[in-house]
């Protein structure tokens, strides 16, 4: 009997050790990634990095030969990313939230189920397909790679995420909110706008921030829509760069390794910050809603 009990304790210890080991194995690549980005990227990040546009290959080559730091920065990429994200958010947020409300309010109905299904399919859509579709429909018809096309591509990749977040957030809200709003004589629209939306705000914001952080990392659809540009461009109908496009350009140009690392480290830190902010907002939101 005693030996059986010892055996159980032994098995238990093995199991715990295994769990710890696997957790560490999962964490390892992530830690290595951060270490590499910090080690190779941080040292090139200086003020010029944020205030100048990307260097030409010739400048980079000359700087490398002279053993100096590469002149220039990624301002064109930052501006391009912000510009395209703004377009994407303006297009996606109202549409996504309204669709999410529709899906939640009409759950179980045929048409809503169909949209729900299509949304789930789009959620996992390979981003190159989004890029190609936007290329054919926007770039071809406007005869130019453009910020607009890039923004539309980003918005298509964000839309399913925002729709899903809205629906999931509304599901989390206490069911009594709507009933008690209506019982006070509120109209349907009034209850949605004044009771449900404020209560859902934190959850929606979390979802939007997370999809923004995903969109910041989109590269493939932008290659075929926004193309990239070595200058800052505010013309909506002309090509522009983004941070991810710059990383791709730097990667394909000789002598620019340091820029690849620096841009990656910067982009990565923005994404981590966005996720942390999203998490914090999410926690505060749950506290307001359930007071726990």
């Amino acid at each position: 009997m005693i030996s059986f009990q010892k055996f159980r304790i032994y098995i238990n210890k093995c199991f715990i050790a295994l769990i710890c080991l696997f957790s560490f194995v999962v964490l390892l690549p992530f830690l290595m990634l951060i270490a590499r980005l910090v080690k190779s990227g941080l040292k090139y990040i200086c003020l010029d990095f944020f205030t100048q546009t990307s260097p030409s290959p010739v400048d980079a080559m000359l700087a490398n030969l002279a053993g100096e730091a590469i002149p220039g920065g990624i301002l064109n990429g930052i501006c391009g990313s912000l510009y395209m994200l703004t377009i994407a958010l303006v297009l996606t947020v109202p549409l996504g939230i309204l669709t999410g409300i529709y899906l939640y309010e009409n759950r179980g109905k045929k048409f809503a189920n169909l949209i729900q299904y299509l949304n789930a399919v789009c959620y996992g859509m390979p981003s190159i397909i989004i890029g190609i579709v936007v290329y054919v429909s926007v770039v071809k018809s406007f005869h130019s790679y453009s910020v607009l096309a890039g923004g539309i591509a980003l918005s298509i990749s964000m839309l399913p995420k925002i729709i899903r977040t809205t629906r999931e957030t509304l599901k989390l809200l206490p069911a009594y909110l709507k009933e008690s709003g209506l019982a006070l004589g509120g109209s349907y629209t009034g209850v949605i706008l004044k009771i449900i939306m404020p209560a859902a705000k934190g959850g929606l914001l979390t979802g939007i921030l997370i999809s923004v952080s995903r969109a910041l990392g989109e590269t493939v659809p932008l290659i075929v829509t926004a193309l990239g540009c070595s200058m800052i461009n505010w013309n909506i109908n002309a090509p522009a760069s983004s941070m991810t496009l710059l990383i791709w350009d730097f990667f394909n140009t000789p002598n620019m390794v340091s820029m690849v690392w620096a841009t990656s480290a910067f982009l990565f830190s923005i994404i981590i910050c966005l996720n942390l902010i999203a998490k914090r907002i999410g926690r505060q939101w749950k506290f307001i809603l359930y007071h726990e």
Partner: protein, 254 residues
């Protein structure tokens, strides 16, 4: 007596699915400025009856209602649901203050939802009056901007009653308003309900027969969706005319 303050049900039936009725052919005229309690076992249709009076049953598309509910002689199904719900307030079983509004805003939430704009002084007056009316003012007057969920359950329920009263409804429907609060709070809410009958007609669903007999002037006994007896409380609880009412009350008291 003001004709508008008369609530009448004419052969009201409610079904959740074809053929199965939650309420069968209920006809009753609710006495104004009095407390009427609706009693009966679980599943007898008490809540269905209460909710149909301010058209809350419409939120569930599979529920069908037949018959007429007349508010001041007008069929409520032909009125604007928003107006019906403004004139007939509903207090739920679970206290349900709006978590994104503070206490002050919660009391005024009905006005906000109905797009009625008030001056600051009017708002202050309504909030104080309503919170005093539910005896909550002294407990919260120094923290009107606090989250309502920081209050005790009993206080939250009184806040919800205040929120409903703020719109000055003629009728007040209460769905087991004291089932989630402790004895002390129950007493306070009962006192409050008793006081409110001067200005409101109150319908209260309760499982607690002692409570029903303490506060109500009239009682209405439902069994399996049928109206068995509707009379003065002192008759229903002391010497009911129908055997079934007598059986239910005796069983509950024992």
């Amino acid at each position: 007596m003001n004709k508008n303050h008369i609530l009448e049900l004419k052969s009201v039936s409610i079904s959740y699915s074809p053929g199965s009725y939650a309420l069968k052919n209920i006809s009753v005229s609710i006495k104004p400025n009095a407390i009427t309690s609706i009693i009966g076992a679980s599943g007898s249709g008490k809540s269905a009856l209460l909710r149909s009076i301010n058209r809350m049953h419409e939120l569930y598309p599979n529920i069908r209602m037949q018959g007429e509910i007349l508010l001041g002689g007008k069929n409520i199904m032909e009125m604007n649901p928003v107006e019906v719900r403004r004139r007939i307030g509903l207090v739920f079983q679970q206290p349900n203050p709006f978590p994104t509004m503070n206490i002050y805003q919660n009391v005024l939430s009905g006005y906000k939802l109905n797009k009625i704009y008030l001056s600051k002084s009017e708002k202050d007056r309504i909030v104080e009056e309503c919170l005093r009316n539910v005896s909550l003012w002294d407990e919260v007057k120094n923290g009107l901007n606090k989250n309502p969920l920081s209050l005790t359950v009993g206080q939250q329920q009184r806040l919800c009653i205040a929120r409903t009263l703020a719109l000055q409804p003629e009728f007040l429907l209460m769905d087991e308003p004291t089932s989630t609060v402790d004895m002390f709070c129950t007493n306070r809410i009962e006192e409050l309900i008793y006081r409110l009958k001067n200005n409101h007609t109150i319908l209260i669903v309760t499982h607690n027969l002692a409570q029903a007999s303490r506060i109500s002037d009239y009682a209405l006994y439902l069994e399996k969706g049928e109206l068995i007896e509707y009379d003065k409380s002192n008759i229903i609880f002391v010497a009911p005319n129908d055997k079934r009412t007598e059986k239910y009350i005796t069983e509950q008291v024992e």
